[in-house]
């Protein structure tokens, strides 16, 4: 049984790391986002393995269902959709690589040298199950962590409003193309003005502003 768990853990770990490596190295941004989703799934599976069932479901719900979709959306809204052939890494990426590898090494070296983790011995048989249910979490949120919970709620609201404010654009500014009716009106007006022989060339914009409302009636 333990071997099975070890194998499963190894597979999940490998999957997470490979997916994460692909996220940062793939040229195509969309592929990168898809690998990110795979990575989120791997982390969710890891949570399941760690018996944090609720958290695994939340991970899927929030990360896969919301965050990654948001990322995909943002990629597609920014138009340079695939970006294939474009260099995706900055020119200083070798430096960054060295820095991150060094960081990893500094973190890992003490671990590898002396495994002085204060790990309690494996619980004997018959120990109570870990608490991971939504009911306990909910109770925690309204008792112990009430302030934090409120703060997170406010943060989410602020983030929602902030995102709307930042990304919002005036509707009038958004539409840069005239409708057919508007263009027709414009053309007619231009013809009329040239017939009355206005000496200076008529620009489109000022004329358009004087137009009667085309859509009413």
């Amino acid at each position: 049984m333990e071997v099975v768990v070890q194998m499963v853990f190894g597979l999940i770990a490998l999957f997470i790391l490979v997916a994460a490596a692909m996220v940062v190295s793939v040229r195509n941004v969309i592929h990168s986002a898809l690998w990110l989703i795979a990575c989120f799934f791997g982390v969710g599976a890891l949570y399941l393995l760690l018996e944090a069932e609720f958290l695994a479901v939340v991970q899927v719900l929030v990360y896969v269902g919301a965050v990654s979709v948001l990322i995909l959306f943002a990629i597609m809204l920014t138009r340079q959709i695939s970006g294939e052939g474009v260099r995706q890494l900055t020119s200083r990426w070798p430096v960054v690589l060295v820095v991150t590898v060094l960081l990893f090494a500094t973190v890992m070296t003490p671990t590898l040298i002396n495994q002085q983790w204060n790990v309690p011995p494996a619980p004997p048989l018959g120990t109570p199950e870990p608490i991971a249910g939504p009911a306990e979490l909910g109770r925690g949120f309204v008792n112990e962590f009430l302030i934090q919970f409120q703060v997170v709620g406010v943060l989410l609201t602020v983030a929602l409003i902030g995102a709307i404010v930042i990304a919002f654009e005036e509707r009038a500014r958004r539409r840069k193309v005239l409708t057919l009716a508007e263009e027709l009106e414009l053309k007619r007006l231009r013809e009329r003005t040239t017939q009355t022989e206005t000496p200076e060339p008529v620009e489109a914009e000022p004329v358009a502003r004087e137009t009667r409302p085309a859509s009413e009636g």
Binding site: I30, L34, G65, V69, A181, E182, E185
Partner: protein, 440 residues
């Protein structure tokens, strides 16, 4: 289902088998059953929808293949299988191939927590409802993949619409379910169904109500509002007609499915109908008691249950049959309503859809959440929780008070919201006209 199957396998194979083998065998059996039933439901639903919508349009519908055309979906399937699978040259081949799988897999996974009858749930997760919605949101990723990988503007537009729609309507759907979860106090789907025993009034809210399996949530003001909001959101999630903007064939060919053919297209189709089935099923489960109905509870009490290991297995089977009958009946009725809505209403515009979701449904369900809290306070809380008004009231009075208060709140909020929403829509139209005339 699991307990029944274990009992059956035990009876058939004797007690000599190790437990893990029995577990494995029963799970494999359950998965097989689910994987067979899911596409069958889809096949039936395509036929059912076509027949019903035809009747609504004074037509007959497919009636050529087999008696009354019941083999029509099979003929369609054969056609689908024999079609050529075309991948556009400019498409991203791997993602294009993966997208249908990513769309179908979650819909099949969602069957894992759907109870078909008493004791007939494949996996009774304590977070079943959350699991259901978490998994359903994965298919949005598949849609995005399909839309992008096809390298077609219609596909991309369709995918963007689909995902925007699914993400925005998940919120009212989940909010309306949370109202129910507050009342039940559990995310387990079995718990939610068990709560709905009773007669018009749930016998958990009002102990002593006879159990006819009719204590559905839809009979309470909170449940009714939640039901309406959830069903509308489910229509949007399942891309049913008033909200079928992502695959609006008159605008963007077939949305994200445009560049798919053959069995890949069939898989999208399958996912869509299976999702519709599941949404109808979850509506039936959460608000209409799932397999609850007259007789099921009594029959199941006679059978082998964890509480009653000495029961008669025959009653298990009878309760299962009756429960599945009630459950499927309710599900099919909801699908009928979906088709009915399709027959009645034209497609919304994307901005109308977003406005309706964000400016009407979400406030409405939020108010309903408040009502649900009040419902719990009136029916269950005592002075220990700080509910001092109801001290000394009889359960009937408490239930009545909860009913009246929540009804008043929900009705008032509804009327107020409709007025505000209509006014905002009119204002918006006016602004658009003004803007148009300013631009012209």
């Amino acid at each position: 289902m699991y307990d029944m199957l274990t009992a059956l396998i035990n009876g058939a194979l004797g007690w000599g088998w190790p437990e893990w083998a029995l577990n494995l065998l029963s799970y494999i059996l359950i998965v097989t059953i689910v994987l067979v039933v899911a596409p069958l439901q889809m096949l039936f639903f395509t036929y059912y929808e076509r027949r019903v919508i035809a009747r609504m349009q004074d037509r007959v519908g497919p009636n050529r293949v087999g008696p009354e055309g019941i083999w029509q979906p099979i003929a369609d399937g054969v056609k689908m299988f024999t079609k050529e699978d075309i991948v556009p040259q400019a498409a991203d081949r791997i993602v294009h191939f993966l997208a249908p799988c990513v769309v179908v897999a979650p819909t099949v996974l969602m069957f894992a927590v759907v109870p078909w009858g008493p004791g007939m749930v494949p996996v009774d997760l304590p977070t079943g409802l959350l699991f259901f919605f978490a998994i359903s949101s994965i298919s949005a990723v598949g849609l995005m993949m399909a839309g992008w990988a096809s390298n077609n503007k219609f596909s991309l537009l369709g995918a963007m619409r689909a995902v925007a729609q699914m993400v925005s309507y998940e919120i009212p759907a989940v909010l309306s379910l949370i109202a129910i979860v507050i009342i039940v106090g559990s995310l387990s789907i079995n718990e939610i169904i068990a709560y709905q025993a009773g007669l018009i009034i749930s016998n958990r809210d009002l102990p002593g109500v006879p159990d006819l399996g009719l204590g559905w949530f839809v009979f309470t003001p909170v449940g009714f509002v939640a039901f309406v909001a959830f069903f509308i959101a489910a229509l949007a999630e399942g891309e049913r007609t008033p909200f079928d903007i992502p695959e609006a064939d008159s605008e963007i060919v077939a949305g994200y499915m445009t560049e798919y053919s053959g069995m890949k297209f069939g898989l999208f189709y399958l996912a869509q109908y299976v999702l519709n089935f599941l949404l109808c099923a979850i509506t039936a489960i959460i608000f209409f008691g799932g397999w609850q109905g007259p007789g099921v509870g009594w029959l199941y009490a006679q059978g082998i249950t964890p509480a009653n290991p000495n029961g008669n297995g025959l009653f298990n089977v009878l309760a299962g049959i009756l429960g599945v009958f009630y459950f499927l009946l309710k599900t099919y009725i909801f699908f009928f309503v979906m088709v009915w809505l399709r027959g009645a209403f034209p497609r919304l515009r994307i901005d109308q859809l977003m406005d309706f979701g964000w400016k009407f449904l979400i406030p409405w369900t939020l108010a309903n959440l408040f009502s649900a809290a009040l419902w719990v306070a009136f029916t269950r809380w005592g002075p220990a929780e700080g509910m001092l008004i109801t001290v000394g009231w009889s359960p009937v009075l408490r239930w009545l008070a909860a009913f009246v208060v929540t009804l008043a709140i929900n009705l008032g909020v509804y009327l107020w919201l409709t007025r505000v929403y209509a006014a905002s829509q009119a204002e918006r139209r006016r602004a658009e006209l003004e803007e148009l005339s300013a631009a012209a």
